[in-house]
């Protein structure tokens, strides 16, 4: 009888542990992808602008793709479609956002880099994707991105595609961010 109860206890514990494991897969996935960079996610925090040595011996083509999500009414596009850079050089790139509706909308851009492994070598010093962006109805704005490509980028990569999808997050807007955005608004 006792052996039976011990076994039931162990099996129930396994059930609870596996339920927890299901949830643990979420941070595990994040960490795994962060380390390996395999899902093309770039860092969500700015890197400090180090004095990286510019490698003038090769040029990398950076392609910029930007699209609003289906439910996002903004017009959203990069100022230039592609750029050739030396690894280590710091560049500024602007994205144009325009809110053609009559209501204020908050947007959040989510980046993705292809090929995925190159994401680890694409550094952002400043990016509009780090924060939510507020735009009043009928207005437009330029959203800057400051970046450089790590000179350690493996030689096999000659083109990096940076893609942004812009989501409407008006529902989840954190109003404390309102202060520094008020100049843009109403």
């Amino acid at each position: 009888m006792n052996a039976k109860q011990t076994l039931i206890g162990k099996l129930s514990l396994l059930v609870v542990a596996m339920f927890a494991f299901g949830y643990a897969l979420v941070p595990l996935y994040e960490v795994f992808c962060d380390i390996t960079g395999i899902n093309g996610k770039t860092a969500s925090e700015p890197v400090s602008a180090e004095e990286a040595i510019v490698d003038t011996s090769r040029e990398i083509t950076i392609e910029f793709i930007a699209r609003p999500n289906q439910q996002m009414p903004w017009v959203f596009k990069p100022e230039v479609r592609r750029m050739r850079v030396h690894p280590g050089e710091i560049h500024i790139m602007n994205y144009v956002a325009e809110n053609p509706t009559l209501r204020s909308i908050v947007g959040q851009a989510v980046p993705s880099v292809s090929p995925g492994r190159a994401a680890l070598f694409f550094h952002k010093i400043e990016c509009f994707c780090f924060t939510q962006q507020y735009l009043a109805g009928g207005n437009d704005m330029l959203m800057p991105l400051q970046f450089y490509v790590d000179p350690a980028l493996p030689a096999q990569y000659s083109t990096i595609t940076l893609s942004y999808t812009l989501y409407d997050v008006t529902d989840q807007w954190q109003p404390e961010a309102q202060d520094n955005l008020s100049e843009l608004g109403e």
Binding site: K4, V15, G22, N39, Q108, V110, G116
Partner: protein
């Protein structure tokens, strides 16, 4: 001694039981619960089958004729959910309830009250699921795999009910699995060592561990869908920092072992039937046990082969391709052993054997298309086409379902005390065999030609094949009515079955009289 304990005492040791509905509601008898599981599975098989008939009716001709696309999607979704969680899994649990205690010489399952509970929550789970079809907005329409964001951003308002019904199904399966493990580990008759257990018991033990490992993960992922949709979390929402691909990883971490949950007990059934009708001992018993265990372990390392087209790095593609192909090795061992068991056996071809033989051939066809799908570059072409539909219906219908039908024919004399009508059974077999191939074989062709799955319309060049497939579907559905007829006829009467209903049958279940008395092995048998 109070009267209550006297009554208990009385109940436990004689065939006395409450009558009417109370017998079934309050029963803790493994045979009653097994029967209820099996009948429930049969009812669900017909409900899920009716949905398949709607799907085939719509696809009989190109264009939209009978149902609108959203309802079509609800049909594909609920058909899948019902067949997986309502038909195949409860049927195996029913067989486990009926047969495992009798096979290992135990008087009942280890946890009889929980057994009652794990069955009786199941009808409510499916009531909730089926109810949603009649609600405004309709039932779930995002496929049984409920990929985010289809099940979060784009799903209808009944998604919460879908989630709760999956929770209940999961709880039921987990309780059933715990019961099976505790029974097998603690209640074997003296002398029934691990390596003397019938393979059906072995495969179910391993299946139960798979259930315990992955059903909680399914519960977790549906809960994430629930909170993403209703409570503003962003597990799978890129706008909030989540990742929809993560959904697929967690889902298939459950989903792939789930596939083996639906096939390992089938291996056990076939390993019981083939030796009986070949009148030889099973070839390679130990290798069968090890093969089952290796399949179970490998099943945790292959989940991303469902996701080759999500844009994984080459290393991951290769890893999952190789591990997937590795599974073909233990599976091949099993097929080899079954064939070797039949080699030079004195074979007869009663209905259980016919279904078992059809299983071996058709399951192997399904396995081979599985190996084709495992080839990453080829999978890019096959992904989400009818080729995939053909593959998993070969392994699940002519695999799992055929094995369940074989098991029912095989043990029916033990359950009812009567032999079934052999002539009707053979008719059921041949009708099923022909129609199932008419139904699923041409799906390979339309799939390779590029017909996508889960779409209510198709390009004109697929019209002829789809008409054939639909006819096969209707015939297969009708053929199963013969099965019901056989079952009713056998339950009502027929030739008296002996304790050992089949000449070559081995095992403790054949030592007790047919029909098996309400209580068997009150005193454990001695196993030599």
């Amino acid at each position: 001694m109070s009267t209550v304990t006297t009554a208990d005492h009385h109940d436990e040791h004689h065939d006395h039981k409450p009558t009417g509905i109370k017998r079934w509601l309050f029963t803790t008898n493994h045979k009653d619960i097994g029967s209820m599981y099996l009948i429930f599975a049969l009812v669900m098989f017909f409900i899920g089958g009716a949905m398949a008939m709607v799907i085939r009716l719509e696809l009989f001709q190109p264009g939209l004729q009978f149902v609108d696309p959203q309802f079509f999607n609800q049909m594909t979704t609920v058909h899948g959910l019902i067949m997986v969680f309502g038909a195949v899994m409860p049927a195996f649990t029913g067989l486990a309830n009926w047969m495992i205690p009798m096979m290992i010489g135990a008087p009942d399952m280890a946890l009889p009250r929980m057994n009652n509970w794990s069955f009786w929550i199941l009808p409510f789970a499916f009531l909730i699921l089926l109810m949603t079809l009649f609600m405004p907005g309709g039932g779930p329409d995002f496929g049984w795999t409920f990929y985010a964001p289809l099940s979060t951003t784009y799903s209808n308002d009944t998604t919460a009910l879908f989630v709760f019904s999956v929770h209940i199904m999961g709880i039921s399966s987990i309780m059933g699995a715990i019961n099976v493990i505790v029974t097998i580990v603690n209640m074997r008759a003296p002398g029934m060592t691990w390596m003397k257990m019938p393979l059906f018991v072995w495969t179910w033990l391993i299946t139960a561990f798979l259930l315990i490992m992955v059903m909680p993960v399914l519960a977790g992922v549906v809960t994430m869908v629930l909170t993403d949709k209703y409570f503003a979390t962003s597990f799978f929402d890129a706008a909030g920092g989540g990742d929809p691909v993560l959904f697929q990883h967690i889902f298939w971490f459950f989903g792939h072992p789930e596939v083996y949950i639906m096939i390992l007990p089938a291996f056990g059934i076939i390993s019981a039937i083939v030796p009986t009708f070949a009148r030889k001992k099973l070839f390679g018993y130990a290798s069968m046990v090890y093969a089952t265990a290796s399949i179970a372990i490998l099943s945790f390392l292959v989940w991303a082969h469902h996701m080759f087209t999500t844009g994984m790095p080459v290393f991951a593609l290769l890893f999952f391709m190789y591990t997937t192909m590795l599974i073909a090795v233990p599976t091949g061992v099993k097929v080899f052993n079954w064939v070797a068991t039949m080699w030079r056996g004195a074979m007869t071809f009663e209905v259980p054997m016919m279904f078992a033989l059809a299983f071996i051939v058709l399951f192997t066809i399904g396995g081979l298309s599985g190996v084709m799908l495992a080839i990453t570059p080829a999978d890019f072409q096959y992904h989400d086409t009818y080729f995939v539909v053909a593959h998993f219906h070969y392994v699940l219908v002519s695999g799992a379902v055929f094995s369940i039908v074989a098991a029912v024919y095989y043990w029916l004399p033990k359950w009812t005390g009567h032999m079934y009508d052999e002539r009707l059974g053979q008719m059921h077999f041949w009708c099923s065999l022909i129609s199932v191939n008419l139904l699923f074989f041409p799906m390979h062709f339309v799939g390779l030609a590029g017909m996508p799955r889960r779409i209510p319309d198709y390009a004109l060049q697929f019209a002829d094949f789809n008409a054939i497939i639909s006819v096969g579907g209707f015939l297969f559905g009708l053929s199963q009515l013969i099965f019901v007829w056989v079952l009713i006829k056998c339950a009502r009467g027929g030739e008296k079955a002996e304790a050992r209903a089949w000449e070559g049958a081995e095992g403790l279940e054949w030592e007790v009289p047919s029909p098996a008395p309400y209580h068997t092995f009150d005193t454990p048998p001695e196993v030599k």
